[in-house]
């Protein structure tokens, strides 16, 4: 049983994450336009860690905050039907370039074993070359008390996720849904706390104070 939190307190490992091209997509519109978020939901990172560090039982709770506002661009791309080799309707894809972010991973007996440098494949359009993120360990943060602030990302509105990120109270909720894959190719949407909600939580998930 993981006793890291009991012995050390809830602490996070801070990494630097960089990516040339990142597409954290929403649901595609009319199969022709994919909008890109300007936040990275915790579930997106969860999925990326599951691929990079597979484990039958462990979920990696991680949060990422951009160090500077990302630049958003649009790519027009014409995928081909593999069967007929004919171009389908052109697809427009929003993506972020020159991404630099702080990545916070909750420390437990599993995540403490992660190497100091690794690669994550994050978001959509990965076969097309998007989403390769280089991750480098920076430091272990000291346990911090939850404090009042504005949520900087999206996290599922579940007890497990809220516990992991130290969300004690939701003072002012901005809600929505995040996609959660089930086994196989299915999934469902789970209610989530969106960026902009005012909460009492661990500082890693809060916007920097202005």
């Amino acid at each position: 049983m993981d006793r890291t939190t009991e012995t050390e307190g809830r602490c996070f490992l801070r990494y630097r994450l960089t990516a040339d091209l990142l597409c954290v997509g929403e649901r595609m519109r009319a199969s022709t336009y994919r909008r890109c978020l300007e936040v990275i939901p915790s579930t997106t990172l969860e999925g990326a860690f599951k691929v990079a560090f597979p484990h039958p039982d462990r979920v990696v709770y991680a949060a990422a905050k951009f160090r500077r506002p990302p630049v958003k661009e649009v790519l027009t791309y014409s995928p081909r039907d593999r069967g007929t080799n004919v171009s389908k309707l052109p697809l427009q894809v929003e993506y972020l370039t020159g991404v630099e972010a702080d990545l916070y991973v909750i420390k437990n007996d599993w995540t403490r074993k992660f190497p100091s440098r690794f690669t994550l494949q994050v978001g959509a359009m990965r076969p097309q070359g998007f989403g390769r993120c280089d991750v480098e360990f920076v430091e272990q943060l000291a346990p911090a008390n939850p404090k009042r602030g504005v949520l900087a990302l999206r996290i599922p509105d579940t007890d497990a996720a809220k516990n992991a990120f130290g969300v004690r109270t939701v003072l002012d909720l901005r809600a929505g849904y995040l996609f959660v894959p089930d086994h196989g190719h299915n999934g469902h949407y789970e209610r989530a706390l969106f960026e902009g909600s005012r909460v009492v939580a661990d500082p890693v998930v809060l916007e920097a104070e202005r």
Partner: protein, 629 residues
């Protein structure tokens, strides 16, 4: 307007006050009709006509109906009102509402603001008087008004008859304080008085002396004043999705009727609301959610006493969310448009079509199905460049700007003002309401300007109160649009535009091909971060103060096309190199630069615009796009 119903409190059945009428006597020139008091003062509550029953009979005053009840509210009319409206506390509600809706000047003493009364309205944002003394001067006019009040008219009847005069008459005639129309003040008093019916008035009775009565209730009752903005989850993609703005406008109309007293002002997707009961605010939010919308709001929840000393427009800094309770999970598929509900329909509805299919929930489907056709955008302009133009109002900037202008005006007209005037003065709601009406008129003028300048065939049907789509013949026209906006704003709000405070009416212009999804534009222009924002999809964004638009426009036009093209090309490779190049050309700025002279725009960076803005504008003039969207 629907007449409010009688309400029952736990101690009294009260006919709702028609408190709007309380100051209607200010439309009479009492001196001219020969009824000024012994000291030469001007009684505006018909005092000289109400001295005794004989005088009342002489003037034909019957005290029939609630309009008179608002007028005879003061202590000197106690016996009269106890006789005509026994047990009623409407005099108290009207008095409190009158004070809440009063300008800052109520707190100033007579000795501090001396001089000839100014009964005409001084318009702060224009910096001049916009009316002359509108008061009625004949006894026949006074009798006509008395007869009118005797019929128990509604406030709508009064506005139909006296609306022009109410708009031209200042609420307060003392010099330097004549900045609010009697019309807005009266309307606010009416609304607030009826909302106050929800308060706990059990500690007073109809014959409690006036000052004691206010003192008894002001610290034990709270009001919740709210600056509310209605938001939508939808991300409009197809032309028909733009119907969400018509849906919001319809929702505002419905809610303004349903919550007639609580809505003090409504403009575009914003409202100023007042509630005495927390349950009423919850009910408001539930109705917003029933419409498939959500809200964000800033609060000012204080006791009546605190609101009397600091004004009603002293909102907290941060915005809060008003979101409904959502189901914990949704199974696939989710609606592509709002992403807040399960999709139960396919669009297009016909299955035998080559159009890409979308999954929609029933609400988003309905929005599309009832949409008014926007034929220019969906058919005629398919290959055109278009500009989306959004002209929202920043209420917090409006309050800041009005406060600045009010201080300057008061200082120019009054003497012996308090030393801490700037920290003590506040913008009363009716002043903001007057400005909101000016903003709404400005939007109409902006619409007319667009159609006159571009021609009706290049302006789509009005999409929202503050949202337009126009067809462009070239992307450079976006700058011409910005110029026209500045010219109109300077004509309508010259003093406000010249003030050092941020101009509260924002302009967001976003340009691309017509097919580019609207929601991508909306992210850029929903809340313009600067007074003028010009977004060129695929090229960048230019931001500037509205007062600088002409200067920037002239400088950009002075840049030779070849120089513009070269700078834009360099910037696509390296922003830092392009910025360096601009600085170097600015430093040189000699005649030898010729058709590579960038000094005109270089001089503006960074004091007027930043490099990113310069780059965007130069790229636009140089005919260089990042990509053509």
């Amino acid at each position: 307007m629907q007449e409010p119903e009688s309400r029952t409190t736990n101690w009294l059945i009260m006919t709702p006050p028609r408190a709007e009428f309380h100051d209607i006597g200010k439309l009479i020139d009492w001196k001219a009709v020969g009824l000024h008091d012994a000291g030469g003062g001007e009684p505006h509550e018909f005092e000289a006509c109400l001295t005794d029953s004989a005088t009342m009979e002489q003037w034909g005053i019957t005290l029939n109906g609630p309009a008179w009840e608002g007028i005879v509210r003061k202590e000197e009319f106690r016996d009269l009102r106890l006789g005509a409206w026994p047990g009623s506390l409407n005099w108290l509600l009207t008095s409190i509402a009158d004070n809440l809706a009063a300008g800052y000047g109520r707190g100033l003493k007579e000795q501090q603001v001396t001089g000839t009364p100014d009964r005409q309205v001084h318009c702060l944002w224009r910096g001049l008087d916009t009316s002359q003394d509108p008061r009625l001067k004949d006894q026949a006019d006074l009798r006509e008004m008395i007869n009118f009040l005797n019929t128990g008219p509604s406030w709508d009847d009064a506005v139909a008859k006296y609306g022009g005069l109410l708009k031209d008459r200042a609420e307060v005639a003392r010099p330097g304080l004549n900045v609010t129309t009697l019309l807005r003040h009266s309307q606010a008093v009416g609304n607030i008085a009826r909302v106050l019916m929800q308060c706990d008035l059990s500690t007073v009775s109809a014959d409690t002396p006036w000052p004691n009565a206010i003192a008894a209730v002001k610290d034990t009752n709270k009001l919740h004043v709210v600056h509310y903005q209605i938001g939508h989850h939808q991300r409009p993609f197809r032309v028909k999705d733009l119907n969400i703005f018509a849906h919001i406008a319809d929702a505002v109309r419905r809610l303004t009727t349903e919550f007639a007293d609580n809505v003090l002002a409504a403009f575009d997707n914003q409202l100023i609301l007042v509630f005495a009961s927390p349950d009423d605010f919850k009910r408001w939010n539930q109705r917003i959610w029933d419409e498939g919308l959500f809200g964000t709001f800033r609060s000012n929840e204080k006791t009546i006493g605190e609101l009397l000393s600091r004004g009603m427009m002293d909102f907290e800094k941060g915005r809060r969310w008003a979101f409904p309770e959502l189901p914990k999970t949704l199974s696939l598929p989710i609606c592509e448009n709002c992403q807040m509900d399960r999709a139960t329909h396919k669009w297009p509805l016909e299955s035998d079509t080559d159009e890409p299919r979308e999954d929609l929930c029933s609400r988003c489907l309905n929005i599309r199905q009832v949409a008014t056709p926007l034929s220019k955008l969906s058919d005629e302009w398919r290959e055109n460049s278009v500009a989306w133009v959004h002209v929202p109002l920043s209420v917090s900037d409006a309050i800041e700007s009005l406060k600045y202008l009010q201080v300057k005006y008061l200082q120019s007209r009054a003497k012996n003002l308090p030393g801490d005037l700037e920290s003590q003065i506040f913008v009363a709601f009716p002043l903001l309401a007057d400005f909101v009406e000016a903003y709404k008129e400005f939007l109409q003028q902006f619409d007319t300007m667009l159609r006159d300048t571009l021609g009706a065939d290049r302006v789509e049907e009005r999409i929202g109160e503050s949202l337009w789509c126009v067809s462009l013949q070239s992307k450079e026209e976006a700058l011409a649009l910005a110029n026209d906006a500045h010219t109109l704003a300077k004509r309508e709000f010259p003093a406000m535009l010249a003030a050092p405070t941020p101009f509260p009416i924002r302009f967001g212009i976003s340009v691309s091909r017509a097919k580019h999804p609207f929601f991508a534009h909306w992210e850029q222009i929903m809340k313009p971060q600067q007074e003028m924002v010009i977004n060129m999809v695929g090229s960048g964004r230019a931001c500037m103060r509205l007062a600088d638009v002409c200067k920037v426009s002239e400088s950009v036009r002075a840049v030779p096309r070849r120089a513009a093209h070269q700078l834009a090309t360099v910037a696509r490779v390296s922003t830092a190199l392009a910025e360096l190049s601009l600085k170097e050309k600015k430093a040189r700025s000699d005649d030898s630069a010729g058709d590579m002279d960038l000094s005109a725009i270089g001089r503006l960076v960074p004091s007027v615009i930043d490099f990113a803005s310069a780059r965007t504008l130069v790229a636009m003039m140089g005919g260089v796009d990042g990509q053509d969207y």
